[in-house]
Point group: C2
Chain length 292, copies 2
């Protein structure tokens, strides 16, 4: 079994991006600039945004963090998005999800100019990805594809089972894995809450991408010997032995599955760091006007 070291790959790519940025600066161009809107003080969101800001520093990007309290109105948030859409100094921006219940996440996502939508959540980017056109790829799916590529994992004709059909992971990663170009070209099955013979389907998979948010869901008896396991789960599980009071748990029963498979991503340190790196890549592409 080989551990897929997402942290190492992410660090490598950040260095590659930083080199591109230094070259841009040397050519007299401005540094890429990512802005993030953070609403409230959710622990997970605070951590993610802090990681994103740090990644910007590592890549040589400029970054701006715009904070709102939980009671911000939808109209205020839409106005902030409008300002970022129009701000020529900002190449791309994200609104950290989840948002408070009184705000429509979909409305917010659609208000973002798709040419600055570096999270790849806008319907235009989702549609272009499905069709196979250049676009901002959704960050987590793009990170997964990048990992498979960097580890030279054969995906062509592989049976790939995606667990979960969320709009930010399951559906888009399925879409990417079935595209004709590598890494992709896999035979893709999407399983979810209504799937009946899930264990049987998983046991036939060459590649399992688990994105259910259900700690330890994928057990040893669901995995074919030699399968590749990509664990997207990052659920906070209470853990009194940690200073934080919790630990991150993946969707895979790592201890027992690891022995059986050929490759596996750890949690943390697998897909997580790659998600942030995909966001950096999209921001670089935005600054270079490489897509739109």
């Amino acid at each position: 079994m080989e551990l897929i070291d997402g942290k190492f790959i992410a660090d490598t790519i950040k260095k590659e991006i930083a080199q591109s940025v230094e070259q841009m600066v040397a050519e007299g161009k401005k540094r890429p600039h990512l802005a993030a809107i953070l609403v409230g003080h959710d622990g997970g969101s605070e951590t993610y945004v802090a990681h994103k800001v740090k990644a910007c520093e590592q890549c040589g990007f400029e970054s701006t963090l715009i904070r709102y309290e939980d009671d911000v109105t939808e109209a205020e948030l839409l106005a902030a998005i409008q300002r970022l859409n129009e701000d020529e100094s900002v190449d791309g921006f994200i609104v950290q999800l989840p948002l408070p219940r009184h705000i429509s996440e979909q409305k917010i996502i659609e208000a973002i100019d798709y040419r600055k939508d570096v999270d790849g959540f806008h319907p235009i980017n989702v549609g272009r990805m499905s069709i196979g056109l250049p676009c901002y790829l959704s960050a987590t799916p793009a990170g997964i594809i990048e990992l498979l590529g960097r580890y030279n994992i054969n995906t062509k004709g592989a049976n790939c089972v995606v667990l979960g059909r969320s709009n930010i992971v399951g559906k888009p990663v399925a879409s990417l894995m079935m595209q004709k170009h590598p890494p992709g070209d896999a035979t893709v099955t999407v399983c979810h809450s209504a799937t009946k013979n899930l264990k049987e389907i998983c046991a036939q998979a060459d590649i399992i991408i688990a994105a259910l948010g259900s700690p330890g869901f994928v057990k040893e008896d669901m995995v074919k010997p030699g399968a590749v396991i990509i664990d997207v789960g990052t659920t906070r599980v209470p853990d009194a032995t940690r200073k934080s009071g919790f630990r991150l748990s993946g969707d895979v029963d790592f201890e027992n599955v690891a022995e059986k498979c050929s490759y596996i991503t750890p949690v943390p340190g697998g897909v997580g760091p790659m998600t942030i790196v995909s966001l950096m890549k999209n921001t670089l592409l935005a600054a270079q006007h490489a897509i739109y």
Copy 2:
């Protein structure tokens, strides 16, 4: 085995649409208006467009056919699209595909105002469909979903195998079949040219949607007893016994598969008529401003 009578269902829906239109007219509203651009004289395209014009009549729609010769330039076509985008009397329009090689189909599709894109090919409509938002559903996939619904075929948790990953059938029908709402909620596998164990995968399917364009591809030994077979193939096969010199052949070896399955669509008279009806439905929705 029960034959899925697409022609009958399509006629029923056209009557439903015609009733809605008469009610609209009685309320002083204008009739829905569909325009179609046809380039050249491809036999298949001529037939499809003629069917669409006839369906408009049956539904009480106004229709406009705009013809160009094969040597029309991309710029001329883009200008025609711009005029239709701006023409308030036109609710929706299509550009019949395929187009001559010197014209970029993707550029043409993206030039259509997504609010008039009743074929559902524009990236915004594709993306919104994937996310599960209201949109113009791609016509053939929507027709398939409608057939499954009208025949009360259980799709929830069913193993659905889609053969083919085209942008106009395979990918969008897979996307619809995996959505949470019925008819959908199926466990979906997308197979294609790179799939290795295709026969084995098909043999496990509760529903097979064949959209390869490969006459008679799906054989008896690939089908589980009692499976539901949706045949999207419509390939013109030379046939000297026909006046036209050809017959339409589906992707399924109908004669041998029919005995084994629970439901099957014939070719012609199955999915084909439903595709046109979906286009009519989208045009009605456009005239009612029901989506955008």
